[in-house]
Point group: C2
Chain length 312, copies 2
């Protein structure tokens, strides 16, 4: 019942980088994106047109888009927070293929993230999607805290489905369900995706897991079992919105997204194709590890791929 | 089809500690073991009677066994490499309940680990188990490299089943299948455990996964799906026999066993009981983290448990 092949969108250049405190040179980002594409990544969230004062790390969005040289097969996505972001992105309309719009399933997370109620976000997103589609852009809608909210706790799956349906009605062909702070568990994932799939006939459903509590790949396995064939991940396990235990400040940087290297390794070992060359993905990832000057979280970066050939 | 409850054996004091380069004071080990028991751990691999020159970290096995004060409900296990180890352990017969004997499924790994062929290991293990059972001890047999060997690559599952059957015939009530260097994948796990269960009616089958490539919890989920209800893990993701990529020496210490904290968190979130108090387990783990002076690998140690209560 497992799929033969899945789609993987690499979100490291955006979701992975956005919380990095040190400014990463544009040239490093461009080289990374080109290396990722050379490794066989065909879906790539390259950057975001957010306000530069909100996320200084992505202030070079236009420069990155202008500089990257990618094969036609690569679908470049940009995160668009609002119409002003879309205006900026449309200056470079021929440099990307998809937009990713977002809102949170929980009111508190949405307010803390973008300082407005979910209904206002939905209205804004709807305008962005309408205009983006008029420009011929494919639209993806991401629902953050879809599996749980660090402020509100449980999130009603029916509310998530309702928001997803609204995004599809607005024109999103793909809905990503974000486990923004790593609260999802496999039993929940197996229960929710079939429910959401039923509510969203025709839409592509994407699993966006974080590895905050180490369950990222277990949740990915559960999603595969539930029929999901589209995933998002970041090289190096970078990024995310980690929720740390306030009573015990973390002694290390909390992990973010599921590591692309580890997800690709698991999928390939299970006989599920991704089109990605793991060795070349590791090369891309190591180049950033050197730049950031610290070991990244992807396990396969440390251990290397599984080696089935005898070398006794 | 998932179980309501699983058994978890904490192997950190033995498998977790044995590769630690700095000597951990006996008092720290004793306090840890008592904290683990206080957290609700009822199966505990406390130490190993190996040669002190082979694994200096566990040279205090007798001191540890003599010092620990545990509730009766806790079943204390010791790893026994050979009859000499059993002789030493039997000096303290009333201080433990189970012995764990081991061999590798692959010849090369067995030779590199204990410098003898698998057949010789099996003969030695059989003698140990016979004597241990005569002393009223419960016997567990562990098969290392059961899912793949870093030297030989693929391991024949029929060979693993054959060794497991021999261990059961020798008197082992429980067989642990070790993914010693993290080569297992969930598809393989789902395929192999039912096969092994069929070959071993009446025996308890235990999954011993390492998180070398980040798939530990995904493999645990797959094992649950395959009917496994007994697991081994180490607090802090310590231990193991990490296989690192020779071309790229690791920039960090490779991870070992599946982290008990992360496994317990996942199981509890899925509604599967372990009898363990995660908060108290984290307290135990943090005490060792301070002793070792570096952040341990368990994700939940950094992120904290999932908090479902609203605190907006």
């Amino acid at each position: 019942m497992l799929p033969d092949r899945v789609h993987l969108r690499e979100v490291g250049p955006r979701d992975g980088f956005q919380n990095e405190p040190e400014t990463i040179p544009t040239a490093v980002k461009v080289a990374l994106i080109e290396r990722l594409a050379a490794a066989g990544v065909t879906r790539l969230e390259a950057t975001s047109f957010v306000r530069a004062d909100a996320i200084p790390q992505l202030a070079d969005a236009a420069e990155v888009l202008r500089a990257i040289r990618l094969p036609d097969a690569v679908s470049v996505s940009v995160l668009i927070p609002n119409e002003r972001g879309l205006d900026a992105a449309l200056q470079l309309r021929d440099r990307f293929d998809e937009v990713n719009v977002f809102l949170s399933a929980s009111e508190t997370h949405n307010r803390r993230n973008v300082n407005r109620p979910v209904a206002d976000s939905l209205a804004g997103v709807t305008r962005v999607v309408e205009r983006a589609r008029a420009e011929g852009l494919r639209c993806q809608g991401t629902i953050a805290t879809a599996f749980g909210c660090p402020y509100e706790g449980r999130v009603d799956p029916a509310r998530v489905a309702e928001l997803a349906e609204a995004l599809v009605v607005a024109g999103c062909e793909e809905i990503a369900f974000g486990d923004t702070t790593g609260m999802a568990n496999p039993a929940q994932v197996r229960s929710l995706f079939p429910r959401w799939a039923q509510a969203l006939p025709g839409a592509e459903l994407t699993a966006h897991f974080h590895n905050t509590r180490g369950q990222g790949l277990a949740n990915a396995l559960a999603a595969l079992d539930a029929g999901v064939t589209s995933f998002e991940a970041s090289f190096g396990e970078l990024g995310g919105c980690p929720e740390s235990d306030p009573a015990h400040p973390p002694p290390r940087i909390p992990t973010g997204n599921v590591a692309s290297e580890d997800l690709v390794s698991m999928l390939h070992e299970m006989g599920i194709e991704t089109g990605i060359d793991l060795g070349r993905l590791l090369v891309a990832s190591r180049s950033v590890q050197e730049q950031l000057g610290r070991p990244l979280g992807a396990h396969v970066l440390t251990a290397g791929p599984v080696e089935w050939h005898a070398h006794a």
